[in-house]
């Protein structure tokens, strides 16, 4: 009896099994570039799971931090870049602080996020949209402009009334500027955006 049920489990597991395919040359280069940018080595990880146990957002992730590293160790870069987890990570750095092998997991998540963005694979549009809205106002005014961020974020994520109830109370408390505050050096800041993107392209 016991043997049979174990066999059943094993068969089920086999159904989920994946054939591992080694990375192509170009993807190998890409993975090592990601590691370099993150300043960390994924092969140091021995899968203890301390990062995942302490992750405050782990409950909402499709792949826990440990699993993201395992995907990379098994050449499954594609799956890692498509994971929702990399957009849920809030960069709180608890994982990096606790890793007994010194793997900078938070920095790795950051690098994966940037690569996914570059490739246009955005699993969580809401987070990516928020970032775009945020940086859009900085590029334009030199500083953030919260009403602008919220309006853009709401419009592009099709949730027009999100946080609408907070707008008036915030204004009443003097916590939200009605007009964007522009700085004298806003053109300098705009140039920073332009040059950073140009230099980033040189790599």
């Amino acid at each position: 009896m016991i043997l049979k049920s174990n066999l059943g489990k094993g068969e089920k597991a086999l159904e989920k099994a994946t054939t591992l395919i080694p990375l192509s040359k170009s993807d190998k280069v890409l993975l090592s570039k990601i590691e370099q940018e993150a300043g960390t080595d994924i092969n140091l990880c021995y899968q203890c799971g301390k990062c995942s146990a302490g992750c405050p957002a782990g409950f909402a992730m499709d792949y826990k931090p440990r699993e993201i590293i395992r995907l990379l160790q098994l050449d499954m870069l594609d799956k890692a870049l498509n994971a929702e987890s990399i957009w849920i990570c809030a960069t709180c750095e608890t994982c990096s602080a606790r890793c007994p092998r010194g793997v900078d997991i938070a920095s790795l998540m950051d690098a994966l996020r940037r690569e996914a963005l570059k490739q246009g694979r955005i699993t969580d549009k809401k987070v990516a949209n928020f970032n775009k809205a945020f940086l859009g106002t900085v590029k334009r005014f030199g500083r953030t402009y919260e009403p602008g961020i919220l309006l853009y974020h709401n419009a592009t994520t099709m949730q027009p009334f999100k946080d609408a109830g907070l707008g008036l109370p915030m204004m009443k408390r003097g916590k939200m500027e009605i007009f964007p505050g522009k700085i004298k050096g806003k053109d300098e800041v705009k140039q920073i955006f332009i040059r950073a993107s140009e230099l980033g392209g040189e790599e």
């Binding site: 750095e93 996020r113 916590k175 050096g185 806003k186």
Partner: protein, 398 residues
């Protein structure tokens, strides 16, 4: 002491209380703050999510401007502080990246100055003893959970400040202000940061867990040094409660607000009335409790003083009393008239007392004892003896 001041975007808007209370705290502690000229946004999480070079260049422009003044930078916002520290670290450690950053900002930047957080400023720059000196209205009875969040202590390679898992600096400040800092498990747990806006389904759970743990640890309020933590714990407390279907109702304060209030500044002067979760009532309760404790202490002091006065004539130990009584008895035996006149003014009655003394040794001992312990009682007893003797004599005459 003079510092370059980087308020950052939050302190001009959502975290206006942090701006007001930081300036007030500087004024109280005698620190001059010079706002960085024409500062720009640090890029926060959105920049390092998007482009590494951009995320280092945006802080670098501010730091390069501040470097020209030769001042260290105070960045109260934990997110700005963290990005500034990351930039300094990179510029010092990575020559290639330094060159690229300078190219992007079109300015020289050597990272000779350094950025400090509000906690580093208060604990390391000012010191707890100096803070204690400024406390005029101690936060007695306040039970507070010190919430550090992520960015003030992590990663330690950038910050090198306090302990990553169990930081103490803010707890120490709270103790210096007279409050009781509770021990709790979520002091460096993440509040969810921008997830509260972009993914409230996840963010509100993270916020609720923090509030709940503080409550379970016995705290009545939370203190923070980060505008994003404040925004999530305060402004989004209602939606976190709604999602969890449980009311917590916990006021949240900035560390600088509480410092200013403990130094006698009125709560609304540092913006406590701008919070979303009502935060004045608890401060009133703390003030009332302080008044009650002070009154109690005064009463206890007065009682102590009264006791001390009473005890000024301490009772003599038995051996010494015996000695003195014996000496007094001798005096009575040697010179009964003189002793009698010391007890009774009236000459006739004094003479009668002298006669009693000579005859009655028991009465002599009693009078001698009373003269040492209580002269008034001795006089009364002597008078009673005389009255008794006179009555006796009258009876005998009849």
């Amino acid at each position: 002491m003079k510092l370059a001041y980087y308020p950052g975007c939050s302190l001009g808007g959502t975290a206006i209380e942090y701006h007001l209370s930081t300036k007030k705290t500087a004024e109280i502690l005698g620190i001059e703050l010079e706002e960085i000229d024409d500062w720009n946004c640090c890029g926060a999480t959105s920049a390092h999510n998007t482009d590494k070079l951009l995320s280092l260049a945006l802080p670098a422009r501010n730091l390069a401007i501040a470097e020209q003044t030769g001042l260290d930078v105070l960045a109260p916002c934990a997110a700005c502080y963290n990005r500034f520290r990351a930039t300094e670290h990179t510029v010092r450690e990575d020559a290639v990246m330094k060159e690229r950053i300078e190219k992007v900002i079109n300015m020289p930047y050597e990272a000779t100055n350094k950025t400090i957080s509000a906690l580093e400023w208060l604990v390391e720059g000012i010191g707890l003893d100096k803070i204690k000196e400024k406390v005029t209205s101690p936060l007695a009875g306040m039970k507070v959970a010190s919430y550090y969040g992520c960015l003030l202590v992590r990663p330690s390679a950038y910050t090198g400040f306090d302990d990553v898992e169990n930081p103490q600096s803010m707890d120490d400040i709270m103790t210096a202000l007279g409050a009781t800092a509770v021990d709790w498990a979520f002091k460096s747990e993440c509040c969810g940061a921008a997830l509260a806006t972009s993914r409230p389904d996840i963010g509100s759970k993270m916020v609720f867990n923090i509030l709940k743990n503080a409550q379970e640890a016995g705290a009545d309020c939370i203190v923070t040094a980060c505008p994003l933590c404040m925004m999530n714990l305060d402004m989004r407390q209602a939606s976190a409660e709604k999602a969890a279907n449980e009311k917590i109702d916990m006021p949240i304060y900035y560390v600088t607000e509480l410092l200013a209030i403990a130094a006698g500044v009125s709560p609304n002067e540092v913006g406590v009335n701008k919070h979303f979760v009502e935060a004045n009532k608890y401060l009133d309760a703390v003030a009332a409790e302080r008044a009650r404790l002070e009154l109690e202490a005064e009463k206890a002091k007065a009682e102590e003083a009264a006791k001390a006065e009473k005890g000024a004539k301490p009772e003599l130990p038995p051996e010494e009393l015996e000695k003195k009584v014996a000496a007094m008895v001798k005096g009575f035996e040697k010179n009964p008239d003189k002793m009698a006149s010391r007890l009774i003014e009236d000459e006739e009655r004094a003479a009668i007392l002298a006669e009693i003394i000579v005859e009655d040794a028991k009465k002599v001992t009693k009078l001698a004892e009373l003269m040492i312990t209580d002269k008034e009682k001795a006089a009364k007893a002597a008078d009673a003896y005389v009255t008794g003797e006179l009555r006796k004599r009258e009876k005998a005459n009849q």
